[in-house]
């Protein structure tokens, strides 16, 4: 395989020495490191096709990745397997400003697409996740990730209006309207075959192009921070704001995140007396000054309404003013952003139980999760955001730890298991699910659905070479 890859790609684009592949053997999490056999850098779809055909003949597992920052070990190779590094497959193939879509290769990063749209004076956006600027737009979407437009438009996978995919036999397929039309406007009216590759974490095919629907970028933007003194009040305000349909994004972050942004590397598990427990950030955009003022009035009215229920908030503060007072808060001033404080704490470890679930249960789940984390000696770092108009949201319980401390690694694994069970019992489902968590989820999934997933996987990857072991179906 190595000779084949070097002949196809050039020796400079193939790694085989362990020390050269060190960055690929582990991620931020507590997932055990895995040594890949080879790493190959590709730039063209034809190369992906050739490699997959060869890997299929040899039975060599293939894992595609870009930045490898997902929190769950999903971009780690199978032992001795091939990592297909797609980071250099990074063309913005097309941006259709009239019909508002963009065709991107998987290596296109968040910062790259932002810069591209700005440099071409296109008032359009894809929104940005909280992952670093150098992470892949496509891979976030293919795993059902979210951005700061997900409150309005749902998780990013819903904005996919077409895919180009290399199947396990090396053949190439298109899904969506561009399978027939010269316009990649959407998925309908065809059956939604894109769903065979969304949420499957590369186990059914390797996506080589994604068509994204873009959203309007409004000229006026304001990000406001609201300090909250109660979990219930935080989520009451969040849910009420969703119903007003005035916000582009709402985030609910617990107190450790503020302290970490302000330089505390490992906050104590308990908050300081009198401190706010959460802060909400609210993004408002508008076409006109009058529209922005009206939206701010709605925000104030909602806070007043929730206050009348006995909840306490500070008045909204503009993020720009907060950043003047403390530049450490700039991490939340603009997106995409690099929340370095999550990994630059010396220990280097970052993990979470990230779930999607019903917004009506967020307060209770956050309370219960916080109590478990504090009891186990971890500051209760929670990030939550409503999605798709408030129909559901993301609730992430995040832990930082020292990867070099075996006892701490053990403790964080135990913590994650307890949190997963706690959230699952309340109807929350882990997204970008690590392999270890599938062992908890699989026995509880509808048997018919699990059987169908296995049949689809078997049909599309009969040799089992596509990122094996990552979806609990093997």
């Amino acid at each position: 395989m190595r000779e084949f890859l070097e002949q196809l790609l050039g020796t400079e684009n193939v790694l085989h020495e362990p020390e050269d592949m060190a960055a690929y053997r582990e991620d931020f999490t507590e997932v055990e490191p895995v040594d890949p056999g080879l790493v190959a850098f590709v730039t063209k779809t034809e190369q992906v096709q050739a490699i997959v055909r060869k890997a299929g003949k040899q039975g060599m597992p293939v894992t595609a990745r870009v930045a490898g920052t997902n929190i769950g070990g999903l971009a780690l190779a199978s032992e001795g397997g091939l990592i297909l590094d797609l980071s250099r497959m990074n063309r913005v193939v097309e941006v259709n400003a009239d019909d508002m879509y963009a065709v991107l290769e998987p290596g296109v990063t968040q910062q790259q697409i932002k810069d591209h749209l700005r440099e071409n004076d296109l008032p359009l956006t894809l929104g940005f996740s909280l992952a670093p600027p150098y992470t892949s737009v496509a891979l976030n979407a293919l795993m059902g990730g979210l951005t700061n437009r997900s409150l309005k438009y749902g998780d990013q996978s819903l904005w996919i209006s077409g895919l180009e995919v290399v199947l396990a036999d090396g053949s190439l397929v298109r899904t969506g309207s561009w399978a027939l039309s010269d316009s990649a406007y959407g998925l309908v009216p065809f059956p939604d075959l894109s769903g065979l590759f969304i949420g499957w974490v590369g186990t059914t095919g390797i996506v080589t192009k994604v068509v994204f629907q873009l959203w309007p970028l409004h000229p006026l933007n304001k990000r406001l921070f609201i300090l909250s003194y109660g979990i219930k009040g935080t989520y009451d305000a969040m849910r009420r704001l969703c119903r007003t349909e005035t916000c582009d994004d709402i985030g609910g972050l617990s107190w450790p995140s503020a302290k970490m942004m302000l330089g505390v590397k490992r906050p104590h598990p308990e908050p300081a007396a009198g401190d706010p427990i959460f802060f909400l950030y609210v993004d408002l955009t508008a076409e006109t000054v009058a529209e922005m003022a009206a939206k701010e009035d709605v925000l104030r009215d909602v806070l007043s309404e929730v206050r009348r229920g006995g909840e306490r908030f500070e008045a909204p503060l503009e993020v720009g003013e907060l950043v003047k007072v403390n530049p450490g808060l700039a991490a939340f001033a603009d997106f995409p952003t690099d929340l370095e404080f999550l990994t630059s704490h010396g220990g280097g470890g970052l993990t979470w139980i990230g779930t999607y679930g019903p917004l009506s249960r967020f307060a209770e789940a956050a309370e219960a999760g916080s109590a478990v984390m504090a009891r186990r000696g971890f500051a209760p770092l929670i990030v939550s955001r409503p999605m798709r108009g408030g129909h559901f949201g993301v609730l992430r319980l995040i832990s930082i730890f020292d990867k070099k401390d075996a006892d701490e690694v053990r403790r964080v694994r135990e913590l994650n298991l307890e949190l997963l069970r706690l959230l699952q019992a309340r109807g929350f489902i882990m997204y970008k699910t690590p392999a270890w968590a599938w062992k908890e989820l699989a026995p509880k999934i509808d048997p018919g659905m699990l059987s169908l997933m296995r049949r689809v996987k078997g049909l599309l990857d009969p040799a089992g070479i596509m990122n094996p072991g990552k979806l609990g179906l093997d």
Partner: protein, 133 residues
Amino acid sequence: MSDRDQVDAAERVVVDQPETQSLLGLLMRNILADNMADDTKYARVRDLVADIQVQASDMVVTLRFAGGTLTIVKGPSEKPRARVRGGLGAFLRVATGGGVIGPVLAGEIAIGGNPFVLLRLLPLLHVASEPGH
């Protein structure tokens, strides 16, 4: 600034027990450190020995001046020489260039204790135009 001065400037503001420190104390650290690095502003408080209690909503910290150092301590002081209390928004407006007289007269900020001690604190509460200068 000489190397000796540079070391001194870095040690002028200390956060007591940062892992358990109040959010208010952490927010104030940056402004205070930048202003204390200014030798002119520092000279006005170098000899100050006093606890100044600052309360924003329910968050309380004590700014303890002693020995040329300002230590941000979580919680109230047993013997504050001066006290400042107000909403966080009011403090932020003062910090970002708003005057303090207006919020005091409007009742958004309440002061107590020795006003001359507070006058020495005031220049340290504004965002520095050029930190360390």
